[in-house]
């Protein structure tokens, strides 16, 4: 356990190595949140409801989604792509450890430091912007459980996509495509309840909403069915656990260490 935590510690140190990057990241989140709120304000101008969400529900949702995204988003896809493409993955494979757990703990270190340095200031900024707390307090515990599940699902999803580099070597075109679909369908930009009927239906069968739409709805108190939401997340978690193991077993045998 200690050795895995050491990887988290190192990823915190690495994150702190370039302070200007941290500032830029914080600034981009704050500007993004501000623009989102301005945009929805303009869209709601004159009307009270869109879909089944009111203006105040919507800005609470986008603010909560922005904060949750800071905690959940991970660079595992890029990290794996880069390591496989350059062949530097050998350094990690040589260790008497589980590679996938190692990646998880690297990501976890990143999450800890980003929660402190980016998520907390963004949260304070959000309170100021919407003059209130974006989370509902009565289901906070379920919301937090749901965020943890979403965290795990998103990590496993990234791991699986990252491991596709074992087969494809260059995966950025795939990443771009999946990234775009992900951003729309997960509900990080637009609440999924505002989708047109057919898209909403299709999305019910896809894993994307388990990462943002479900936890954010629970956190903001706009979700109806708590049990169903958590069950849905648990289902996708098991699917990705099995998938990650499978892709790893197949992909590892395919590994070609590039660059001599």
């Amino acid at each position: 356990m200690r050795k895995y935590l050491r990887y988290s510690y190192i990823s915190i140190k690495e994150y702190l190595a370039y302070p200007s990057n941290i500032l830029a990241e914080l600034a981009s989140k704050l500007i993004y949140l501000f623009m989102q709120i301005c945009l929805w304000k303009a869209l709601f101008d004159g009307s009270t409801m869109h879909g089944n969400l009111s203006y105040i529900d919507t800005i609470k949702y986008v603010a909560a989604a922005c904060i949750v995204s800071i905690i959940i988003e991970c660079n595992t896809i890029d990290r794996m792509n880069q390591q496989i493409r350059s062949g530097d993955i050998v350094n990690d494979l040589l260790r008497p450890m589980d590679f996938k757990l190692m990646m998880l703990f690297k990501h976890f270190g990143n999450t800890v430091i980003k929660s402190l340095l980016i998520a907390v200031p963004t949260f304070l900024f959000a309170i100021r912007l919407i003059s209130g707390i974006p989370f509902s307090t009565d289901r906070l515990l379920w919301g937090l459980i749901s965020v943890s599940l979403a965290y795990a699902i998103h990590f496993l999803y990234s791991l699986v996509i990252g491991m596709l580099a074992f087969f494809l070597i260059v995966t950025w075109p795939l990443n771009m495509l999946l990234g775009a679909i992900y951003k729309i369908l997960s509900g990080i930009w637009i609440p999924v309840t505002m989708f047109p009927e057919f898209l909403y239906r299709i999305n019910m069968f896809l894993p994307f909403r388990a990462v943002y739409a479900i936890p954010v709805s629970l956190l903001t108190g706009s979700a109806g069915d708590v049990k169903g939401s958590i069950l849905c997340q648990l289902m996708w978690l098991s699917v990705f656990l099995i998938l990650a193991e499978f892709v790893w077993m197949k992909g590892y045998k395919k590994l070609v260490v590039q660059g001599g």
């Binding site: 690495e14 062949g87 050998v90 008497p96 260490v257 001599g260």
Partner: protein
Amino acid sequence: MGIEVRNLSKTYRRRRAVINAVNDISFTVETGSITGFIGANGAGKSTTIKMMTGILTPDAGAISIDGMTFEKNRKDIMRRIGVVFGQRSVLCWDIPIIETFRLFKDIYRIPTNIYKENLEAFSDILGIDKTIHKPPRQLSLGERMKADLAASLLYNPDVLFLDEPTIGIDVLSKEKIRNFIKKINKTRGTTIILTTHDMSDIEALCENMIILEKGAIRYDGTLCGLKSDAHTENLETIVKNIFAGEAV
């Protein structure tokens, strides 16, 4: 630890081309010896090393390290081998080298007294105490290489694999690195397997050598044996002739 390699093969498939990188090779490395791997670029040296360190899965054949195999004892083997790739660094690029050493201390569960002892010994011989608190990105290639070498020996591995450890290193640092490798081999009995393109590395270090050509073994024996077979003392000439396709 003795290493046994039996009928090892590895093929790379690139689109329609099939490349037999390593083709049915067998050899034995004795415990405590230093063995040099030589071969032209693309002869299969690195592929062989990568299979012997468990990174690549062979298509056929078996590798046993002191009776253990990667299928059964992967983590045990990993704990007992050290690997240095001259072209890749294990050191974390942006943070002081000491952090990587601490990481290794935890990964390999190095007892504190041994960790300290080794750190002191490496500082004496390699002079890494001056660079240990700097991140690798601020170091010269030679300094980085020394730190890499130290990292892979911190946990007293039984076998040390060195893949072109002196690539791009100046004469003086090269000599330091060679002396260090020799000393580790003598004092700790570490089995050392080394690939290089620098014949003076081989002259300075290796008793045994294996010459690979197009994925097959051309010579497996002692350095003295090779010289007497070829009736010359000049290793560079011998190797050049072999690469050019002449018989040993």
